[in-house]
């Protein structure tokens, strides 16, 4: 068994119009920039996929990665906790123009909804958001004298994540705080695709060091020197390279 894709284009070929796609990362750390750009390349070449629902903590920064995906008009709805960044112009303009829907979710609730989706738990109760606008319409129940809000699981057709090392069975390690949502999203998607800096032979990664076991990963692709969103933005990058 080998889950390795030969290239980025093959890795994102199965993402269809209207699908829900979880994209890992917190800001630029752990963001699978190359997988996102491969999806944009496919859209520019074929007109697909579009109408995507994207789950991410943020809403993109500058004109690369998730921001570029939104700028191409490929995203119908965003589920996120914090749609602001140093340069949020792409999402802000699309949102204020009514071109993209937003479901705002507290960060910990977003993480737990994804975890629940991956763990087969359809709903759970959390103290977070009780008594606030973000709890409107949701069932509330009292446990041990405290009120809690019911939240539903979150699942996806695809997850695009960035890891550090991987093996051909899909076992993954991460680099520092780039871990963030990536391991959770792998569990909650029907098909999780990981870009990694190096693909190793099974047995090379110490089993004690595996963070995401390969059962949660359906595809893996090597991106030896992945771009950092922060560096791209500091260089004023725009994806794809077009006259503006």
């Amino acid at each position: 068994m080998d889950k390795t894709f030969p290239n980025l284009a093959a890795a994102v070929a199965g993402i269809a119009d209207g699908m829900t796609v979880m994209i890992g990362g917190f800001g630029g750390s752990g963001a699978p920039i190359e997988l996102i750009h491969a999806l944009i390349d496919r859209f520019l070449a074929t007109g697909h996929p579009y109408g995507l629902t994207v789950v991410n903590n943020n809403a993109g920064n500058g004109h690369v990665g998730l921001a570029a995906l939104i700028e191409q008009g490929m995203v119908r709805k965003l589920i996120c906790s914090f749609p602001r960044s140093a340069d949020p112009v792409v999402f802000t303009e699309a949102y204020l123009a009514g071109k993209i829907a937003l479901e705002l979710v507290p960060q910990g609730t977003l993480a737990e909804r994804i975890r629940a989706g991956g763990a087969g738990i359809p709903a759970f109760y959390t103290p977070t958001s009780y008594g606030t606008d973000l709890a409107k319409g949701k069932p509330v129940e009292v446990f041990e004298g405290r009120p809690y809000v019911q939240e539903r699981w979150l699942k996806a057709d695809y997850a695009l994540v960035k890891a550090h090392l991987g093996d051909s069975l899909g076992n993954l390690t991460y680099r520092m705080a780039a871990r963030n949502f990536n391991p959770l999203m792998c569990t909650a998607a029907t098909t999780a695709i990981a870009q990694v800096s190096r693909i190793l032979a099974p047995g090379t990664i110490d089993p004690e060091a595996v963070v995401t076991p390969g059962i949660f990963v359906q595809g893996i692709v090597e991106v030896p020197r992945p771009a950092q969103e922060e560096d791209l933005n500091r260089a004023g990058s725009v994806y794809p390279q077009v006259a503006r």
Binding site: F26, N57, S81, L104, P106, Q107, M176, A177
Partner: protein, 223 residues
């Protein structure tokens, strides 16, 4: 005699209440400054929502590693004992009651302990981040804030008029004029600047300020 603390001085005062070894989350903005003012001999362990415990100060410009950032997306550094974890574990630390203290900013704090700090109304793009989780997680939730808004309106009020972050969650407020506890639905004055009279303080506080016991002088070094 100073008649108003700077944000750094408010942060200094808040830092005096953090015990050695405490697990602490500091909100983005003013509260981040608390880390600079830990009293000698004490070392708190700082948590950031995106998945680090025990991180260190900002690195020198040019040496940033953008996989090593805090919740404000600013670069931080490793320290002996740093740990990384994913978001579900990070918010288990938050909601599970494992943090000793969370210190947040505020638009408004009510005498009930309600906090409003995420939205100034329906205009623009709403964003919440981890604030609604933090207010229900830490054993102690404190706020650092100017005592009044830029146009002089009270930020300590009887009921918040802005969208709530959490209900009955704040227990102490460090303002530019005073240190005020919240308990049993009341603001209780603990410390005030010597230069500010009780009447003057009450005039800029939007709810009843109770004074059941002695009020200490709020003395903070020049920073």
């Amino acid at each position: 005699m100073t008649d108003r603390l700077s944000p750094a001085q408010m942060a200094w005062r808040a830092a005096q209440d953090i015990a050695d070894g405490a697990y602490v989350n500091l909100g983005i903005g003013f509260p981040e400054m608390v880390a600079r003012f830990q009293p000698t001999g004490r070392q708190a362990i700082f948590h950031t929502e995106n998945g680090i415990l025990g991180f260190g100060e900002a690195p020198l410009p040019g040496t940033e590693d953008w996989d090593l950032i805090n919740a404000g997306k600013r670069a931080v550094t490793l320290r002996p004992g740093t740990a990384f974890f994913h978001h579900a574990d990070s918010f288990a630390m938050v909601r599970g009651g494992h943090l000793d203290v969370a210190i947040l900013g505020a638009y408004q704090v009510a005498e009930t302990g309600d906090l409003a700090n995420w939205s100034t109304g329906p205009k623009g793009v709403p964003a919440v981040g981890g604030a609604m989780d933090l207010v229900h997680g830490a054993r102690r939730v404190a706020v650092i804030t100017e005592h009044v808004t830029k146009d002089g309106k009270p930020k300590l009020v009887d009921r918040c008029s802005l969208p709530l972050t959490g209900v009955a969650c704040v227990t102490r407020v460090y303002t530019s004029l005073a240190v005020i506890d919240i308990g049993d639905g009341r603001f209780v004055l603990r410390e005030k600047l010597p230069a500010v009279t009780l009447d003057a303080l009450r005039a800029v506080t939007g709810a009843v300020l109770h004074v059941p016991g002695p009020v200490a002088d709020l003395i903070v070094p020049e920073i």
